[in-house]
Symmetry: C2
Subunit: 407 residues, 2 copies
Amino acid sequence: MTIKYIQGGVTSPKGFTSSGIHCGIKKNKNKKDLALIISEKECNAAAVYTKNQVKGAPLLVTKDHLKNNTAKAIIINSGNANTCTGDTGLANARKMCEFVANSLNYNTEDVIVASTGVIGVQLDIDKIKDSIPTLVGSLSENGYLASTEAIMTTDTFEKTLALELELSGKKVTIGAMAKGSGMIHPNMATMLSFITTDINISPTLLDKALKASVNISYNRISVDGDTSTNDMVTILANGLAENNLIDEENEDYLLFLEALKTITISLAKMIAKDGEGATKLIECTVLNAKSEEEGELLSKSVISSSLVKAAIFGSDANWGRILCALGYSGIDFDPLKVDLTFGSSVGDIKVCENGSPLNFSEEIAKNILLEKEIQILVDMKAGSNTVTCWGCDLTYDYVKINGDYRS
Amino acid sequence: MTIKYIQGGVTSPKGFTSSGIHCGIKKNKNKKDLALIISEKECNAAAVYTKNQVKGAPLLVTKDHLKNNTAKAIIINSGNANTCTGDTGLANARKMCEFVANSLNYNTEDVIVASTGVIGVQLDIDKIKDSIPTLVGSLSENGYLASTEAIMTTDTFEKTLALELELSGKKVTIGAMAKGSGMIHPNMATMLSFITTDINISPTLLDKALKASVNISYNRISVDGDTSTNDMVTILANGLAENNLIDEENEDYLLFLEALKTITISLAKMIAKDGEGATKLIECTVLNAKSEEEGELLSKSVISSSLVKAAIFGSDANWGRILCALGYSGIDFDPLKVDLTFGSSVGDIKVCENGSPLNFSEEIAKNILLEKEIQILVDMKAGSNTVTCWGCDLTYDYVKINGDYRS
């Protein structure tokens, strides 16, 4: 049984509808800024939140509403992060849930909320209130694209995916949408992802699978090293696929986990590729690390290095910067064992062996690095663990997007 | 008794001469690339090295030669870091010391060595060998500027300072030079600093004073978060000032320590201000932190944030990014206690109180942030420790300098 991508998104699993509209938080009327996803049936739900000490008001409310591990709807706005907004902000995040609950006759605790955009500015809650009838009225089985658009900020393309798998003879579907690092007025980059599925699974295992997937996908990307106050990944599972309930870590669980990892890694790569101002996706695979933890720290150090990112922007095979970034990762290792290889769709080239320079053709290296997806292969020869992380290059446009004065 | 800045540098203390010449490692003949500092009398010596696991060959040789805590000369080249160069590189670093020792009739172990520039490329050691007579021949009591120039890479101005103080009725002088983040062909940024002094002090206390100074100066700056493989700070003390030997932590020691901190903080600020592509110095002071360690982590997180750095480049009072950077510093704190103030020579403005937005004039804030030296004041209200760190803005030119292809 295989995992198969299909066209779609959060409305692909049975029983989910969604919508996305412009309510006026963003000034540009052509930009959607309010999204709603609902399930006709109560869902088991799980979420992962930013590790930033400063958390947006929507995260606090969502955390509270997910105490019972169930939900039926998610409301999301872009254009304002509702963060650093004190008690008023907290009240507004709760109101967003209430509006939806009142309109659909749900319990307020069954609605969760997320926001992305400028921080330190109060939300114009009336605009959201007034738009609820339109938002609910436009809920549709084909709404996945509209809701994906409504959570975008500086994203340059929609991030929506869906896939199918078969469990105990039943078709199970997973849909997901995400937004990457962007900002409205020059402001906070935020990573949001919402996953829906009709799988029948216990809350405990849903939570476990989500955490395992996030750890090797969204937690292995970096755009600029800044962890947002509003990052959130949620999953809702309504059970309508009617597969045998997964309540132990059996084969069905493992297949679901594989599917969830597949879709979250794909979305994470899309986010990295669409990093602010980015022109290239950087994929750094650390081979033969002593442990998975060490491999991850080493790989993250490489994809987060401003000097490495700038070199890749310039298609410069400046491998010394990679060795340097490995060196300050905090991991103890022998530099005289490390091999480095650059690769892309046009080929690959080894540039460093046992920590020493190889005589390589800079012309070939440049041709490889001129491509849009760059692989950096680091062989540590210290163990047997392989870890991949993703990032993007550092460009003039990153500075432009984040350095322009807000007016 | 006061500490007084004087014009000068590494040749200001008694008994020190230095030189700086072009030997051919840099292609541009107008750029000096080889420096020598010597003391007529054996010096107590101490050094602090990069924490990067990958260390340049010169660092390994210097560490070896300083085992006995004495030295008489330092040879430094720019244009090539002699790092990731294997056994050949190690042999070349030793040869640089030998050349100087043979020419001056010193012990090889009394010569230490530093390099900065491109990594992963073997040094053209013959060019250095052939230039030793000229290098030694041009040693001068006024050589401080020539040697300062010879260690520069993309630095845009010379970093040389000297100051005097009086200890037990004797005039004691400290001289120093430094280079900041730069590269030759797009390559490794390195921080180097060489300090000379005629103070009479025990090796143990010299080492202790150096470490204490480095911890609150060079270790509190960041240009791009990339820790070089070749960072090194050394101090040579020849005792010619004939002050009473400092071999305990008495008042003389404390005064010397204060002077050393003064000169290293000034140089560190010069390095931060002259960061690659930088247009502004950012000074972040964390007030009322629970501990000095926490204050340092919080302050470093702010000055290292790409989003904060880009906002300052754009003179944008985007304080949410500062709160966000504090939030991911790893420190546990209450965001609802934090006050934030921006300041510069034209005034200051409080933008956030108790984690919530203040109604401030964006026009006044912009005027403050248009200045070249920006203060960010963070009041944590969690204790009584104050820590300041320094960084620079993130600009188009940083990307340009580090992203251009090497040819």
